[in-house]
């Protein structure tokens, strides 16, 4: 992730290449093999993490999650952006800045 990336609905988050994921009962444990640090994602974080494919935009992801969860899109957007920013701060994402 580049420093201070802009993360908004146009971003296409992608999991860091050195991040190994274990999912257990809807929660994820992430091993960042670059730092050997472990991270625990709650159910919401795990759901969002599972959507990162480097192609789908945050807008796409939020729409899908909103439909799937039956939650208002605005609320899902707030939660999703919070999760993405936290993951980015922890160095767990590739550059997810909006394209040109």
């Amino acid at each position: 992730m580049s420093p201070d990336p802009v993360i908004d609905e146009r971003s296409s988050p992608s999991r860091g290449g050195a991040v190994h994921t274990i999912e257990l009962d809807g929660e994820a444990v992430l091993l960042d093999e670059a730092t050997n640090r472990l991270h625990l994602l709650n159910a919401t974080g795990t759901l969002v993490w599972a959507c990162f494919d480097g192609t789908s935009t945050v807008a796409d992801i939020v729409t899908d999650l909103s439909d799937e969860l039956g939650e208002p899109r605005d609320a899902v957007l707030v939660d999703t952006l919070a999760v993405i920013r936290q993951l980015a701060e922890q160095g767990l994402l590739e550059d997810g800045s909006p394209g040109p």
Binding site: H20, I22, L24, D25, E27, A28, V29, L31, E33, N36, L38, L40, L41
Partner: protein, 288 residues
Amino acid sequence: MSGALSETPRCDALGFAFVVTAENPRLTQYLGDLFAGLESPGRGTHRYAFHMSPDRPVASRCELTLDGRLLFDAAMAERLVSNLVRHVNRQAIEGCDAIVLHAGGIEHEEVGFILPAEMEAGKTTLTAGLVRAGLGYLTDEAVAVEPATLLIQPYPKPFSLDPGSWALFPELEPLPDLSSDEYKAHEWLVAPRAVGNIGRSCPVGVVAFPQYSPGAETELIPMARAEALIELTKNTFRFDARPREALDVLAEVVRSAECYRFTIGDLDSAVSIVMQLIGARAGTGRPQ
């Protein structure tokens, strides 16, 4: 003093094979009893030896060597027994190819119960209490999980009971016929078979993280598997040496296990609650 050497049977501590020789046959007998759970016939072995060297200063007259290399010295062999047990343990853990957890372990009907925790959390005391209650002893210190099979490899080392536990197990005070009590000045090293039976290799069925909290209500609190996985990594020897492999193995362990935090107010209630859990799992009441 010099004389004929006596030797313990060959033992295998998670792949570290060894015998112990000494000039005092009573010491050898005691050590043989301590390590009896690890006896394993075979070829090739390391050799610990207690030597008395009358020409050395009194304070270092007895030497403990491994394959001829000096490890420790003291005024008498009895003071070196704890050093020996700890050295064997370190060799076992450092040389083992399995994923090794800092945990106590017991077995019942081919199901393993592991108690991962740091030092002073009550692992050994609880493990000894459960073995005394009839469960099979796997280890009080190092649960080795084979990556390929996810089976626990029994490592029934001597129990190391701290003074705080002595009153709970008065019947386990070591009483070998040695010339000094130095061997039990700081801890009791207890032969596993003096406590109960040795357990068999088995998969992990229950993971419970014990925390001794005097006066607290003893309880097993269910724990999410992902959280348990994180906690297991904190209690894995040399996790950083191969984190991904260890994480994958431990994930498979917790995937098929019940996971708990285990607050322990006192030993009797802790043993009782584990026995109830076993009974509930088996649906047949308390184990025989």
